[in-house]
């Protein structure tokens, strides 16, 4: 890796003055000037409480912010001089390093800078956190670093407590599909907080993928999938309640689909030699409790979600016909005509729909960005069906349904493999 190209002179100078470290925590402070001090305090406290003997560094990637000067002043310098917890004496000097990127850094650029710094400093355990997350605590930082530093894992994905009706894309698509195809049951591949080893950082840094749009938007999922497909040790760690105000988390469903499903499909394409031969999924070691569901009241307009599904499928019929298998498409058209009360998006149809989308993405039957956007109405249909089916379900029942969906994804994997390998003829 050419650090001289990726890392600025100023950053190199800062890194050289740090020397080797044991632990590195990276974050991107872009658009998070108001919360960055809270994040820094949490990380510092975590270091002083949990890693007294380790050499530590915080790498803050910023750029393009109006309040950059303020952030920079907080982000640089010797850690030990800034925060001292009463009764705790740190045995090592800790450092902060700030990487100023010209212009707003994308998630990909920020991660690449952090990986380059980790590689140069020979960090053993690293974590990326989001300063915009309002619930970042010293414990959550430690929970990401500890399995790597002490238990020799290579990738740590977070687990959260969240509302039962939130995170439905992760629950109904990203988690079961990635688990069935990549054989590893990591629940939160798409998150703003995760941990990784120095070995994994070096591997990812040397991949020639950083120019890819999928990597620029959501590099963490690619990093997780790289770890799984390269036989690195992966685990999950419970971090507490999921913050919905995390930076970079788009609220527009189409944008979220482009960032997450687009990246997942891209990873399928990039790692096809691996997942096509991959066997059944294996459980992942988990530190702390498994993910938890709460039942806080939510303001959801089910009727609007259903109407957007119905109108979307009707209006996008020519596009969907070029993506979906004719049988799948006709089944979807038949459920569109059902009354709202009787409508259900059955799991086998949902899985086949997604596998058709994945295969069509692979064969590029239409523009790939358009293809991912065309999934939005169908996702809304699945969301509506889920909300109706689980209006009175207990967390255990929802978990059982989730397991059944995962099983359906695994059961139908041969269908995807068949469509994936099929040659698509250009009709004259």
């Amino acid at each position: 890796m050419a650090e001289d190209v990726l890392l600025s002179d100023d950053l190199l100078r800062q890194l050289m003055s740090v020397g080797e470290v044991d632990l590195l925590v990276g974050m991107s402070s872009h658009n998070a000037a108001n919360t960055v001090s809270h994040a820094l305090d949490a990380i510092e406290e975590s270091f002083q409480r949990n890693f007294v003997r380790q050499r530590v560094v915080i790498v803050n990637v910023g750029g393009g912010d109006k309040d950059e000067d303020g952030v920079e002043a907080k982000g640089q310098g010797n850690l030990a001089e800034k925060v001292r917890l009463p009764g705790i004496i740190s045995l090592r000097t800790s450092h902060r390093v700030t990487a100023n990127i010209s212009g707003p850094p994308s998630a990909g650029i920020a991660l690449r800078t952090i990986l380059a710094a980790a590689d140069l400093l020979r960090a053993r355990a690293c974590a990326v956190v989001s300063p915009a997350a309002s619930n970042l605590t010293p414990d959550s930082v430690a929970n990401l670093l500890r399995p790597i530093y002490r238990e020799k894992f290579d990738f740590v994905a977070p687990l959260y407590t969240r509302n039962r009706y939130q995170g439905l894309l992760a629950r109904n698509l990203l988690y079961p599909m990635s688990r069935a195809l990549f054989g590893c049951g990591i629940r939160e591949l798409f998150s703003d907080e995760w941990g990784f080893s120095g070995r994994l950082a070096a591997l990812c840094l040397n991949q020639d993928v950083w120019h890819e749009e999928a990597i620029q938007a959501r590099p963490e999922a690619w990093m997780g999938i790289s770890a799984i497909s390269s036989d690195f040790r992966c685990c999950q760690a419970f971090l507490g309640e999921k913050s919905q105000a995390t930076k970079g988390l788009a609220t527009d469903i189409v944008e979220v689909l482009r960032q997450t499903v687009g990246t997942l499909f891209w990873c399928l394409e990039a790692r096809q030699s691996w997942w096509l031969d991959c066997g059944k999924s294996q459980p992942v070691p988990t530190f702390g409790p498994a993910h938890e569901l709460t039942s806080d009241p939510t303001d959801l307009d089910r009727h609007r979600i259903f109407e957007m599904f119905r109108s979307g499928v009707t209006e996008l019929e020519p596009i969907l016909s070029s993506i979906l298998d004719p049988e799948t498409h006709s089944e979807i058209k038949s459920i569109v005509s059902l009354e709202e009360g009787k409508f259900r998006f059955k799991s086998d149809l949902w899985v086949r729909t997604l596998y058709d989308f994945a295969a069509s993405y692979h064969h590029a039957v239409i523009n790939r960005d358009h293809l991912v956007q065309a999934l939005a109405p169908l996702y809304r249909g699945m969301t509506y069906s889920f909300l109706v089916e689980h209006s009175d379900s207990s967390p255990a029942e929802m978990e059982a349904a989730s397991e059944m969906l995962c099983g359906e994804f695994e059961l139908q994997k041969p269908y995807l493999m068949e469509r994936w390998k099929a040659k698509v003829e250009v009709k004259s």
Partner: protein, 233 residues
């Protein structure tokens, strides 16, 4: 008298023989040129087809939506279309060169005119093709964006975009070919201006409620709308 007639016939016969003697080699040259042209055109066709096959042009064409346009027009896939085009262009070129060897009065002038016109025809075809690709891509983009944003009439929006781009492409094509230049420009300006004015009036006056809703949607408080759907992640 008899001698004169015989001499005249002899002269005509001599001229005919001379003409045939002059024409036959030229005709043979023309045939040779046409046959060579056929071989060259066939070779170019197969070379181009192989090269385009390597570059996966058909996939790019599918991706851009051009294949669909070609299918709608009952045309072959992009690779086949281009390789067939190069075959015909090359062979027709050789045929015209061959014909010019015959030195038929007036024909040479027409041939040279046709050669001068060929680049404009190519540019016109290219403009039309690019117009079709862009119209298809942008109309699909608009359709997806409108559907996912919950707009009431996404197909109208999509077809409007397709229509405007097609009109623009056809006008540019006709202008390139020099077909009634002034009329085309005037017609385009009138149709385009009238359409836009008509849409603006229809939207502003006829669809006041819709206009208000759209403005509220884009400029108003979006928080309430976001809360209506569950957080995906």
């Amino acid at each position: 008298m008899r001698q004169t007639i015989l001499r005249g016939l002899e002269q005509v016969y001599g001229n005919l023989v001379h003409m045939i003697a002059e024409f036959l080699p030229r005709f043979l040259v023309m045939l040779i040129i046409i046959v060579i042209g056929l071989l060259v055109a066939l070779a170019l066709k197969y070379i181009l087809r192989a090269l385009l096959g390597l570059t996966k042009l058909d996939r790019v064409s599918d991706d851009a939506g051009a294949s669909r346009v070609l299918r709608m027009a009952h045309l072959p896939p992009m690779t086949e279309l281009l390789s067939r085009s190069i075959f015909w262009v090359t062979w027709i070129g050789f045929i015209l060169v061959g014909l010019s060897v015959l030195r038929v009065a007036g024909l040479q002038e027409q041939i040279s005119r046709l050669f001068q016109f060929l680049p404009e025809v190519f540019v016109a075809i290219l403009i039309l093709f690019l117009g079709a690709v862009i119209a298809n891509f942008l109309s699909r983009t608009a359709l997806l964006a409108a559907v996912n944003a919950g707009h009431p009439s996404p197909k109208i929006l999509s077809w409007s975009i397709r229509f405007v781009i097609w009109i623009l492409a056809i006008s540019m094509t006709l202008e390139e070919l020099g077909v009634a230049r002034q009329t085309v420009i005037s017609a385009f300006s009138i149709i385009f201006g009238a359409s836009m004015l008509g849409l603006a009036i229809a939207f502003g006056l006829g669809g006041q409620d819709l206009a208000r809703k759209c403005l509220e949607r884009y400029l108003g408080d979006t928080k309430k709308k976001e809360d209506k759907e569950p957080q995906p992640l």
